[in-house]
Symmetry: C2
Subunit: 254 residues, 2 copies
């Protein structure tokens, strides 16, 4: 009897990111969190499928969070959980879930342990407020926690704090299969390889082939990226791409 290799169905687990903050929309602050979150999530088999950037307006945050939490396995938010008047993420998430904001005794204890006693004030203690029913996400950098409410993970916007919160969260997330990535860069311009690439894409529908043109010293280059949960298919696809580049007398640049 021929050996049968039974391949378990690939499991897709998805996420959305809601970036909260007028400073991103004004162009003043350049978001650095999206790529970090995308890469870290993929390591544990969670695919970032949508990102929304919304202003510091409660109704906008509520609508965005409610739209994506119904659609994706996980939602992450960044920004708006500090002590100032423009930090309205906690109240907005509570509203999205239809629950009140409550003071977390655990978060308050963490804050009081971190903040010098003479600096404890109402604004700083506001950072101990969470939607009723939320679970805390620890903040190893500056004590003020994030939180998890349903499938929504609320994190700070400052990159090193966000990274610390995401690292603390990762062990609790249930990922599926990771998407593996292979890439090659050639001196062939996109227009030269487009037809061959379409044929390869049609042959390997489970592999997502991306073509990314750039100009280096005025000369075109194209980076081709194969992404798939199936390592073997990904490798087979990239082999065909190498073959195509060679047939077109292209140079492999990296």
């Amino acid at each position: 009897m021929a050996a049968a290799r039974i391949k378990a169905a690939m499991k897709l687990v998805t996420a959305a990111l809601v970036i909260i903050g007028n400073e991103i929309l004004s162009g003043r602050t350049h978001d650095k969190n999206l790529p970090h979150i995308a890469v870290e999530l993929n390591k544990i088999g969670i695919q970032l499928r949508e990102v929304r950037v919304v202003p510091d307006i409660e109704a906008e945050i509520v609508d965005a969070v409610n739209a994506v939490r119904a659609r994706y396995d996980y939602v992450f938010t960044t920004g708006g959980i500090g002590p100032t008047h423009d930090d309205i993420t906690t109240a907005s998430i509570a509203k999205a879930f239809g629950v009140p904001v409550v003071r977390s005794a655990e978060a308050e204890a963490s804050l009081r342990a971190y903040i010098p006693a003479e600096r404890v004030n109402a604004a700083r203690l506001k950072m101990a407020d969470v939607p009723q029913g939320a679970t805390l996400v620890p903040n190893a950098v500056s004590a003020a926690p994030g939180f998890c409410m349903g499938n929504v993970y609320v994190m700070a916007g400052i990159p090193n704090i966000m990274q610390s919160m995401l690292a603390a969260t990762i062990p609790y997330l249930k990922g599926g299969d990771s998407v593996g990535s292979l890439s090659v860069t050639t001196d062939l311009p996109e227009g030269t390889i487009a037809d061959g690439l379409t044929a390869i894409q049609d042959k390997y529908p489970t592999v997502d082939i991306g073509s990314y043109p750039q100009f280096v010293n005025g000369k075109p280059q194209t980076t081709l990226v194969c992404r798939s949960m199936d390592t073997n298919m990904n490798k087979a696809t990239m082999d065909e791409i190498y073959g195509m580049i060679t047939a077109l007398e292209g140079v492999i640049l990296g």
Copy 2:
């Protein structure tokens, strides 16, 4: 009779940006277009109010574009207008508007003038396709145009090409009032100024006060940004913030 200064109502003109591309969602490519678009639009009195990042999936692009074009005065998209199989923005925008994709004779002529004759092929000429009824947006860098369909402006994802297309588009957009911005950075942490800041925000509701904490060499700093269409109100608000910082014995760092 006392002189009366009658202030015309501020005119708010809004925009959304749809960033199209798996490479942004995978974290492989870091978007650089959002801040540029936000800043350039504000110069002519258009406020970026929402950004969505969506994958190279037609239904996702259609849904995102249709959601935001109904809601904002202008929509800009970046990415997905090249010659390869994964460039599906043109077809998706046509679908969003319920029109067919047609070959633009003008765009084809531009491409044929730019591309060496021996390199002209079907894939490259695909870049002359636009939704029926679209107006071309010139590409001063590499000939393949963007286009405008209704209130949706479709641009390339490569930053220098996108910038060229946006510059060509700007003269045709009708802006409202620009939002002016004033900022100050202090060594006071957010938690110390939060209460005073709330009082100032309550006093000047037409000014959007943002508070952005950071750590420099391990020490907290806070940058306070006042944004408003009303220059006088913005100035008055910032004056009060300076007064608050001084009263709290904070140092002005910049």
